[in-house]
Symmetry: C2
Subunit: 113 residues, 2 copies
């Protein structure tokens, strides 16, 4: 089981904005249409559309058209991937590295250790 760090970084980046992380958390309540989401923020409609595109492109959020409206929900599969990665992180108390480097990093040249 290989870790896809590029994907983890992309998921984190999608949530690395206050507006987007609020929207994501808001969707815990259930499906929301864009106009309802917009009510909660002091941003323009085009900016919201931009943020929703980022959330959807990351895979964290699904959008579906319902007539005039776009309705958004959390994508449970991608959420699970994120949860598993985060929960797999541990603050280990292992002993320190003893043997560190011997090199001249000014020149980016490393000698034998």
């Amino acid at each position: 089981m290989h870790k896809d760090y590029r994907n983890y970084a992309a998921l984190m980046k999608a949530l690395g904005d206050e507006t987007r992380v609020k929207i994501f958390d808001m969707l815990t309540q259930g499906e929301r249409c864009a106009c309802k989401i917009l009510d909660d923020f002091a941003i323009t409609q085009s900016t919201l559309s931009y943020h929703m595109k980022i959330l959807c492109d990351s895979g964290l959020v699904n959008g579906r058209r319902d007539g005039i409206w776009m309705r958004y929900t959390i994508n449970p599969d991608t959420l699970e991937i994120l949860k598993e990665f985060i929960n797999g992180i541990e603050a280990s108390c292992n002993e320190i590295d003893i043997n560190c480097c011997k090199g001249d990093q000014r020149l980016n040249v490393f000698m034998v250790k």
Copy 2:
């Protein structure tokens, strides 16, 4: 218990880069010094220092000086804050909003609903 979305976004942003999320995961193994971390990446020492500063500023990573070396570990308290937030997110299947907006968003003017 109030949610600090600004902080959540800052934590996510700190991990929203492939190099940084790899470093963070690597620290699950235990304490690592900067020169050891540097071995695993094709970046310069100054770039690594920049990334370590971002990780430390976010609170996710602690650094301590040990003589010549800087040794880094995961900060368990901040990790716990992140875990609790992520694990609190759920992909709810609640019913949809029925009443959406009535307004002219071209003008950013909203009428009575």
